[in-house]
């Protein structure tokens, strides 16, 4: 089956004492914190900040989803319910704050979202986690569609078609920290995302986290070592709902609007895609997936109208050829890294990637031209593709792109085995003298 979880249990050996030891164990977290704080200084444009905010929210959401899927073995098609409901609770709270009925600094609004997510997860989880597997997936789908459909009925809570809006500038500041600009919201999001990630990682290192894995692997055996699989699933479910609600609260602060789209099957599907593309077998997988997905979503949609098609193809390719996701591909190279043979892979990989890129250019060109012919603006005959103005209704662009695609595919077909062989060679266990 798919790749196993990394076992990071430290041995009962001698651990470096003091500050040096602490840094060694938590170095990754420190480095991440430093990078995150410095990032807005490097990427200053408003677009970049906005995308990074989006990424932060997506990271928390995707990690919370993986508590269900990767850690707990529960495939849910309705996780956006807890994200959205948490967000709605948060935005209603924000409006209460603006009216003066409630005192709450904006910085603590995500906590409200988290509590909202937890409440609904505890409510719906009480019956959804009775069974695992397909039944669980179907109930989650049912609940998702139920909430989505009831949004048109419960207009006061969901705001009907326009949704519910709020204004974060109306809330009192915390320690004179106000969050009016996107850059300030960035730090808020990064703070909560960091805290949430740390908490979710910590959860996976607790007895409950370990039992969640055990119930995922073999629910029957877990019962025979004293644990109720139903209760274990329920606790995991509530924890996942809590963090999804936290992400929803962050969404409320960032966008100041929640709509019915946030509880839809599309949103639930997106988080599934994010987590799966990133790699559900590793803790950091969904982080990668969320970043890549958000990047493609925000960047690609500016360049092409069919970015969802590309995403769909990417997703399907991941499911069929790389089920361990991006994280799996990275971890696959650990033996080569340990044996210090990674540098040998650079040349074959660049070659294969180059061929793949050529093939992709050809395919993308063809697809974009088809799209233009089918749904392009009336009256236009040229399309701007890869920085060239292409006359779509003549023959030669089609011939060129088709040739490029075929040539790239053929070259890839020749280059891929070379890359694979280089990988196998680099990954062999190091020979001892």
């Amino acid at each position: 089956m798919s790749t196993p979880l990394p076992t990071a249990s430290p041995r009962l050996g001698i651990r470096e004492a003091g500050l040096a030891g602490w840094v060694q164990r938590h170095g990754m977290w420190l480095a991440a914190a430093v990078v995150l704080v410095a990032l807005p200084q490097i990427l200053k444009s408003p677009v970049a900040i906005s995308v990074m905010n989006q990424m932060g929210i997506a990271v928390v959401f995707a990690l919370s989803y993986n508590m269900l899927l990767g850690q707990g073995g529960m495939l849910s098609f309705g996780h956006a319910v807890y994200f959205g409901l948490g967000g709605f609770v948060a935005i209603h709270a924000l409006n209460l704050v603006a009216q003066g009925s409630l005192y709450l600094p904006v910085a603590l609004l995500p906590v409200v979202g988290a509590l909202g997510g937890l409440f609904f997860a505890a409510l719906f989880g009480s019956f959804s986690t009775i069974r695992a597997g397909t039944v669980f997936a179907m109930i989650s789908l049912g609940i998702g569609e139920l909430i989505h459909s009831s949004s048109l009925i419960l207009v006061k809570f969901f705001g009907g078609e326009e949704g519910i809006t709020g204004n974060r500038t109306k809330a009192p500041p915390l320690f004179s920290l106000s969050f009016t600009t996107d850059a300030q919201v960035y730090y808020l999001i990064v703070f909560w995302a960091f805290v949430a990630t740390a908490l979710m990682y910590a959860f996976s290192r607790t007895p409950m986290g370990r039992i969640a894995n055990a119930v995922r692997d073999n629910p029957e055996r877990a019962e025979f070592v004293g644990y109720s699989q139903r209760w274990a699933r329920y606790v995991s479910f509530c924890a996942a709902g809590l963090f999804a609600g936290l992400a929803g609260g962050l969404f409320a602060v960032n966008y100041e609007i929640l709509t019915v789209e946030n509880v839809s099957l599309t949103a639930s599907g997106s988080v599934l895609l994010m987590a799966y593309i990133g790699g559900i077998g590793f803790f950091f997988g969904p982080i990668l997936g969320a970043i890549v997905f958000t990047f493609l979503q925000s960047m690609l949609s500016d360049f092409t109208g069919i970015w969802l098609l590309y995403l769909g193809i990417l997703f399907l390719a991941t499911v069929m050829f790389a089920p361990a996701g991006l994280a799996g591909i990275l971890v696959m190279h650990r033996p080569a890294w340990r044996a210090r043979r990674l540098h040998r892979l650079v040349a074959p990989y660049v070659l294969a990637a180059g061929c793949a890129l050529v093939a992709a250019v050809g395919v993308v060109g063809l697809l974009e031209m088809v799209q233009f012919v089918v749904s392009g603006p009336a009256g236009r005959v040229t399309k701007r593709l890869f920085w060239i103005t292409v006359p779509v209704y003549t023959v030669w662009p089609w011939v060129v792109f088709a040739t490029v695609a075929l040539a790239g595919a053929w070259a890839l077909w020749r280059a891929a085995p070379i890359a694979a062989a280089a990988f196998n060679d680099a990954s062999r266990p190091a020979t001892r003298p």
Partner: protein, 315 residues
């Protein structure tokens, strides 16, 4: 009276349409243990292909050619996609069909564009069949009913009376044993997947003119079909039949009823509030609640009887 009659008729037409969709889905699930998310996508493809064919070659060509084409596509998807993913487990299979569903939806928008297509009822069938007081029953709906019942009879006959059907039935519950008896079970799976997809496409061909041909048609009907299959019992054709009719009639009736939930509560002797976040609930008519009824039913059944009404398996 008239309302009741037409609601029942329309409910049965809708229910039989759901059966055409859900029969394929439950067969695929029963045999391969995979809940095919892309099933509604094949329904949509059938409608769109038939539309394109009907524009150039007439409705009847579309009716005859589109389902086998989509069936072929389904078989290919099974052979080259699902079979490869099978060894990664059930979760991966489910995610794969989910991906196929997304891809089909995007492809349809890509090839045919976003606006709805005017896929119309053929002139031959565009007349009212009979009339009761003020309401007419269109002939096309009778045609839909005819096709659906025909499919039901065909399925019943094939599964119960032919040798191939016997093998398929056996593979539904004991694929391993059937393989041991020398049958090419992977090929059986591929054929069943193909036939299931063709059935879905046929449903699309005949439902397109009535329910609309637009890129969201798969999502709209997709969830309902899942509800039907799960309520009826995963892997049970009888269950799919009864659950389809149940959901079809319930939804059609609910849409026609104008009583509000407040009326219902009042009838039960409860008083309802006028303010608060849930105060929207009471003036709502049953008609507006109709869309969520199937999901409520789904959740209730899954809690009370996870194997569904007639099913024997949960996974």
């Amino acid at each position: 009276m008239e309302l009741a009659l037409f609601s029942i008729l329309n409910g049965v037409v809708y229910g039989m349409l759901l059966f055409m969709l859900s029969s394929g889905l439950t067969l695929i699930f029963g045999m391969m243990g995979v809940l095919n998310f892309a099933h509604a996508g094949f329904y949509m493809l059938g409608a769109y292909l038939a539309y394109t064919l009907s524009v150039h070659l007439g409705f009847w060509t579309g009716l005859l050619v589109a389902p086998p084409l989509v069936g072929l596509l389904g078989a290919l998807v099974e052979r080259h996609g699902l079979r490869r993913v099978h060894r990664f487990g059930h979760v991966a299979e489910l995610i794969f069909t989910f991906g196929v569903a997304i891809l089909i939806e995007e492809l349809v928008q890509f090839i045919w564009g976003r606006p709805a297509k005017s896929y119309t009822v053929p002139a031959l069938l565009d007349f009212p069949l009979f009339r009761v007081f003020q309401t007419t029953f269109p002939a096309y709906k009778a045609f839909m009913l005819l096709i659906s019942v025909g499919i039901f009879v065909f399925l019943f006959y094939v599964l119960a009376r032919t040798r191939a059907g016997l093998i398929i039935q056996a593979s539904l519950t004991h694929p391993g044993m059937v393989a041991m008896l020398g049958h090419n079970v992977p090929r059986v799976f591929m054929v069943v997947f193909g036939i299931g997809s063709a059935l879905a496409a046929l449903a699309g061909v005949i439902a397109g003119p009535v329910l609309g041909t637009f890129p969201g048609m798969a999502q709209v009907l997709g969830s309902i079909v899942f509800v039907v299959v799960v309520i009826g019992g995963l892997g049970s054709l009888t269950g799919a039949f009864f659950a389809s009719l149940l959901i079809g009639i319930v939804q059609t009736f609910a849409v026609a009823l104008d009583y509000s939930l407040g009326d219902l509560a009042g009838g039960l002797g409860l008083t309802v509030g006028r303010t608060g976040l849930l105060s929207d609930l009471w003036p709502i008519t049953i008609a507006r609640v109709a869309p969520i009824l199937p999901y409520l039913l789904l959740i209730l059944i899954l809690i009370a009887r996870p194997t569904g009404l007639f099913g024997t398996r949960e996974t």
